[in-house]
Symmetry: C2
Subunit: 343 residues, 2 copies
Amino acid sequence: MRKKSKATSVDIAHLAGVSQATVSRVLSGSPLVNAETRRRVEAVVRELNYKVDRHASSLRRQRSGTLAMLLFEDPTPDESHINPFFLSMLGSITRACARHGQDLLISFQQLSDDWAGDYEDSMKADGLILLGYGDYLAYQGKLQKLVEQGTRFVRWGAVLPDQPGLSIGCENLGGGRQAGTHLLALGRRRVAFLGDASSHYPEFLDRYLGCEQALAAAGLTLDRALQVDAESAEDAGHAAACELLARGLPFDAIFAASDLIAIGAMRALAEHGLRVPEDVSVVGFDDIPMARFAHPPLTTIFQDTKQAGELLVDTLMKLIHGEQAHSVRLPTSLVVRKSCGAG
Amino acid sequence: MRKKSKATSVDIAHLAGVSQATVSRVLSGSPLVNAETRRRVEAVVRELNYKVDRHASSLRRQRSGTLAMLLFEDPTPDESHINPFFLSMLGSITRACARHGQDLLISFQQLSDDWAGDYEDSMKADGLILLGYGDYLAYQGKLQKLVEQGTRFVRWGAVLPDQPGLSIGCENLGGGRQAGTHLLALGRRRVAFLGDASSHYPEFLDRYLGCEQALAAAGLTLDRALQVDAESAEDAGHAAACELLARGLPFDAIFAASDLIAIGAMRALAEHGLRVPEDVSVVGFDDIPMARFAHPPLTTIFQDTKQAGELLVDTLMKLIHGEQAHSVRLPTSLVVRKSCGAG
DNA sequence: CTGAAAGCGCTTACAG
DNA sequence: CTGAAAGCGCTTACAG
């Protein structure tokens, strides 16, 4: 902040009776400083509450000490609330950044944006964290471009074989299997899937496939006629469930690709006089805070957002430091509540 | 980012056949540039996708072009999810920052922190946006210190007469009145208040007082024996409602100081076999996204987080530019859903 | 309207 | 272990 007179390293040097270079060495933790000298400098630093000017430091080091988080959503209805799932990652990302001594810049983007903005951010930050749901095929090209530019980034999302850059994601396939297995154990046989299940949304697709595997293991099939596209939003879930109902095919369970979809679907079910879980079991995915308060409380597949956030930052830092880093898939777990019946 | 060779203004100058100073003038929108020269420079800038180095620029200008948002919560149970109310402000704050060409740094703090962190942030940003619930009396001193330091900041919260610095808040008194009036209109007479109602939480206190005014206007009182302290969290709301029930006093309505409290209270009510709204009406405050999905959907007092976020940023920018700025109270509105009965 | 030059506050070879 | 000095990439008086 602009204050009467912000102390600089020169002031500190003066007061401590050393050169400015030595002050700098002390503050950057250089081993090339006499212990006694260091103590003297540190005392003055503390007294004046001196902080290194990050701009000067970054300029000189050619490294910013800043990470940027880009949150994008698909067509994002103007005033939309941000996907709660990503929000819960925000906390752990922030904390992880602090632990690494990095600042966190945040920026919201439309998937449709030029992403010129990204490039801009990439000049401000040492690396990018990409969060967002959206048509994967649509932004794969942008990721490619980022790679070509030499931009360091890590994204949250499906871990795919040939993807550009690194991803941290969860075991979507395994999570889908957990959902299917649970439904099966409860005696459900006709499972509907709400959510896009194509390579446009690889995470959803894997959840679909995982569920299908679980059913297949029991000699059952996930009837494609019971699949309805939906993006991760309550409204979309509601619409999808209505569409499903309109098809008139029998089903006794819904596996929603996200909690938001599940919650919307339950609303539609209730409006149509169907009881959850008596008439139909519902499983979600994510375990957003709202899931607990849904009616009935939603059984869902938990993704560890805390660990995810940390891993995202840790991985990005490795990239920045030129260390070896790789994509990872985090395990999921089933959270049994009321929406499927006796757990 | 560190790339093979990032273009600098010198490169641009060279290619455009002008001096580096002129490039700088073009990029900062100086009027002291010939239109033709400007066009030539801009062409090169576009072609190389050149961006001004923010660190160099900030260092030179002694202004960072960055705003910092400090989000603090009271004792914050380690992995707690951030208060959803603040999260919904995040989006509009980010957008408003972008509109002002400012970057947004975000940082989470414990109210108990030394806030040395703040001072640190204050060196990185031109101004601070403070968001958080917590004991006002406990952090008033910190605000005072910020003022003394000359740090520019705006906080979201109660607009109080002698507070240090500026606040943007809502008409808590008016909102409380709207809640009380609505309850009254529905025939409710014995209103309980869940939430701290002391000067430690001035926002809650005003909501309480507003409700009390509405009742008084009808010749009724807000019985203090029906008030139970609670912080803004679902668990706290649940606990408070249990405590209220344990007191054994009759009541036919609950005005919760926040939606989270209301949702927790409804859970307790249900556990005790009480129906909402038949046996007791419930009104919340905030209108967080979850309110719509509560069971029953929660009638609540809406605070315009979108406008709030924008105002927070606009006000802070005025402060930074040395313009006149002042605290403001935003109007609230009643959102009728199902938790109070016929609306 | 344009250029040459100083300087923002650091970090880091380079000498010693 | 320490200091003097160069230089990171800009912005902005100062001349012209």
